[in-house]
Amino acid sequence: MQERVKKPQFDVVGTRPVRPDGVDKVTGRAKYGADLKMAGQLVGKVLRSPHAHARIKSIDVSKALALPGVKAVVTAEDFPGQPSEFIPAGEGVVNYRDMTSNVMARAKVLYEGHAVAAVAALNEKTALAALDAIKVEYEVLPHVIDEMEAIKPGAPILHEDMITTGVTPAPTKASNIAKRVEFVLGDAAKGFGEADLIVEREFKTKAVHQGYIEPHACLASASEDGSAELWVTTQGHWVVRAYCAKLLGWEIGKIRVTSSEIGGGFGGKTVVYLEPLALALSKKTRRPVKMVMSREEVFKASGPTSGGTVKVKMGVKKDGRITAAEAEITLQAGAFQGSPVQPACMCAFANYDLENVKVVGYDVVSNRPKVAAYRAPGGPISTYGVESVVDEIAEKLGMCPIELRLKNAAKEGTRAAYGPKFGPVGLIECLEAAKESDHWKAPLGPNQGRGLAAGFWFNIGGETTVSLQLNEDGTLTLMAGTPDIGGLRASLCMMAAEELKMDVSKIRPIIADTSSLGYNFLTGGSRSTFSSGMATVEAARSIVKQACGRAAKLWDIPEEAVTFEDGMIRPAGENAGKHKPMSLSDIAKVAGKTGGAIVGYAAISAQGAAPSFGVHIADTEVDPGTGKVTVTRYTAIQDAGKAIHPSYVEGQYQGGAVQGIGWALNEEYIYGADGKLQNAGFLDYRVPVASDLPMIDTIIIEVPNPRHPYGVRGIGETPIVPPMAAIGASVRRASGVRFFELPMSPPKVLKAMKAAGKA
């Protein structure tokens, strides 16, 4: 049975100390991906396809190699072919044939920006000249961009051997549908039969980019002895190591990967692009090779998340009880299979306690960059459709959207449509908090409206290793292996300080490289505070145990006769004898003479992650003369389980909400008829700027996760799930028009308002 967490009193957890990596980041000292320099380093650049879809007939690099200052060129020939097999590694399951074909195009280029060759030269100017000197002969092929076009008969086929899986009998002809998935609970047809009202709608969302401000960057240095070092901005350097070793055919143990400070990832830095190229170029030149993507390359060649088409049908009784729900979700995978359609399907109705559900999903390839994970991958897309339909049901029934949700909300014991029953979860608490909030009750002005939506993410644990060493003076050094993107080191030190009952400033953390620590899965899936936190607590407890053992030896009493209380090691009672309590510092001073250094080490596969539900409230104002939507007030409410450092929890809620606002209103990949991306820059790929936004209010709900020592749930993913539907519902009330397509950009809004006579 699961053990419920007692509500403990915390000394450090729940406070807001200054983060240990903070000063370096406000003084410009912190080193990110592009900030390291090595003696003799070369500049690496990538030649990219100008075509959306073409066969590579030939590549002639001779003129490039002949240029003075050009040291090496690599093409697909420099990377061994990989069999098409699905291997668990890194971000779920990967197909190394696809991965190697994505980092360097093999027979065909499959999207504009697809890497074709890479060069290393003395400087950037020479490297760019070398790219110009490489002659690639293409046979341009017809392309397809939109996912619904890509599944039509007669659409250009990207992969001649792609046979849709998940369909019986298996198709005999290749198509762009990689996979069909299906999740069924109960009997949807029966449920619709019981409904008093059925709402059925189709939604469309566009591909959006994670939009991290730091472009992909790395510095590789391969030695003559077959070893190599790689400095890289990544969410998971062990994963980078595994991918590079596989793509290059090198031994894992010979590659040492160090993660730089990372300038944002949001899922987009969980895969490799430049890294294997830099290593290969370094091996050829025996010199360090630095590669940094331009912003244009980031947009054209690194993963956005899918755009997609979501059909939702929901049936409901007059009293608001949902009787059945169906969805069909078609997501863009980009040029290679692997859209987040599976989690999209699983998230679709996770907010609700339903008996009859059917969700079908399709993973569709088209001539776009391969998608990468983006914050709650898939969840925001399906949830946008479902929560928009729930809002419409509330409107049609004349019910408060919160009451409708409370009537159907997932709770402990609810069987999710993807099978298992939830443990304790906090959706009802979030909805109640929304209902009680000032925001929900505040009056609205003219042309303003208010919307609300809920969201969910599973959260994960996974392989994690942490080392905590007690230094000679009683300070501690913490080594974690999950890159810190948003305050992780602060939270880990706080958890260690909580266990050791010491001042958090005495603990100095680093993110260790792959040769210094056991395996760590990446920072993603909202796992790092949960998993590395769990390992940190275990490592800290190990320190306590070892320190108690040393004290027992010094006091000549059995280990069981020693306890650790209030930060001091004490005899465990009268019978243990009278010994002066010792601090960890006291033990640290004599550690060397009593058996050696005291190091807590925890190598775990963290289990027990628990989902986090959230509810967002959005107010918008719509300009009837231009169709422009302005967010005027916003509140993000979410269950954190336990907020270790509340400021960074709030920061996740706020940041996720704003990414969602961007997705809802202006962000989109815009393609021309030529299959080329038209807005590969921050000028026309419009992420929200400071003046677009109000303050983002937050309410942290704490329904503890019984499987974590402090009750922690992951919290990073969920905040991006509700915003699109919350804003859609708000715009509906502000403009009088309901929208079914993202982004709700001014031309679309004005057009719809005019058509409805509202402009």
Binding site: K628, L683, V689, P747
Partner: protein
């Protein structure tokens, strides 16, 4: 690429008369185009070493604004924002605070984009460019300088030294608004500048209406001015202005907006801008 920073107009025109020369003022467009390899000039001629390009002077006939004066400097001028607030607003909508620290009226115009924010405001204000060239100096109204995207009425060796902005009429006001999807950092989807003058009785005696981003070049909308002149700029006049503005548009569908949207918004903006200009004219 060579970098030259002449200190005289003559030296600059001589350099610019050569092959592959480009003017560098604020550089906020030029450097982006060089960096993204759209342009590959042999020589960039930094005109900021020439005193007259960097100064704002005022006399009874109005202002002379150096072509390389930045948006931030326009805003900081003690009287310009009072006399020509729309012009200053237009210049200060170009990019971010950072960009305003560099971007200039001359550069914004000569970049040759129909969406340049300062250009409709300059046209509305009746700005005239002073152009230096190998054959001497000439003047040209701002609305006649840009012919088509990236195409200017300047010949080899010519560059804009400064702009002459007339003195504000006694009861005159101007304004500029643009539409963008965000609040900042975007290129105008539609831009509109209006300058008008009233008589003592509040009747409009003169008006200039300009639109940006709705055609291949910024437009001076004569019918828009006609809709206002002789009226009290009442709702009927504004409705005529809206119609004239919409009728003048010859926009394209692109990633920033549709034809239909640009026409609609041009009408909306023209009315809103005229109202602000009217308020300003009434206050002085």
């Amino acid at each position: 690429m060579r970098y030259e920073k002449p200190t005289t107009v003559e030296a600059a025109t001589a350099l610019l008369a050569g092959q592959g020369a480009r003017v560098l003022a604020g550089g906020t467009d030029l450097l982006v185009q060089i960096r993204s390899r759209i342009l590959n000039p042999d020589v960039v001629v930094d005109i900021k070493g020439i005193d007259t390009t960097r100064k704002i002077t005022k006399d009874t006939s109005g202002y002379t604004i150096g072509a390389a004066v930045t948006g931030a400097e326009l805003k900081e001028h003690p009287t310009l924002s009072k006399d020509w607030p729309g012009l200053v607003e237009g210049a200060n909508l170009i990019g971010s605070t950072q960009v305003q620290g560099r971007a200039s009226l001359g550069g914004n115009l000569c970049n040759g984009s129909p969406a340049a924010d300062s250009v409709p405001a300059m046209i509305a204000a009746g700005a005239v460019a002073t152009i230096a060239g190998p054959k001497g100096t000439r003047t040209l109204p701002v609305e006649d300088i840009m012919l088509a995207p990236r195409k200017l009425a300047l010949t080899a060796g010519e560059f804009i030294v400064s702009f002459k902005i007339p003195a504000r009429p006694a009861h005159g006001g101007d304004a500029y608004l643009r539409f963008i999807p965000r609040t900042e950092m975007d290129i105008a989807v539609v831009g509109c500048g209006v300058a008008l003058a009233l008589d003592a009785g509040g009747t409009c005696t003169a008006a200039r209406v300009a639109l940006g981003a709705v055609a291949a070049r910024p437009l001076l909308v004569e019918d828009g001015a006609k809709a206002l002149i002789g009226t009290k700029v009442d709702d009927a006049a504004l409705a005529k202005l809206e119609a004239a503005a919409k009728a003048a548009c010859k926009p394209i569908d692109d990633k920033r907006g549709t034809v239909e949207f640009r026409i609609d918004v041009a009408g909306t903006l023209a009315k809103r801008v005229a109202k602000i200009a009217l308020e300003r004219a009434r206050k002085v």
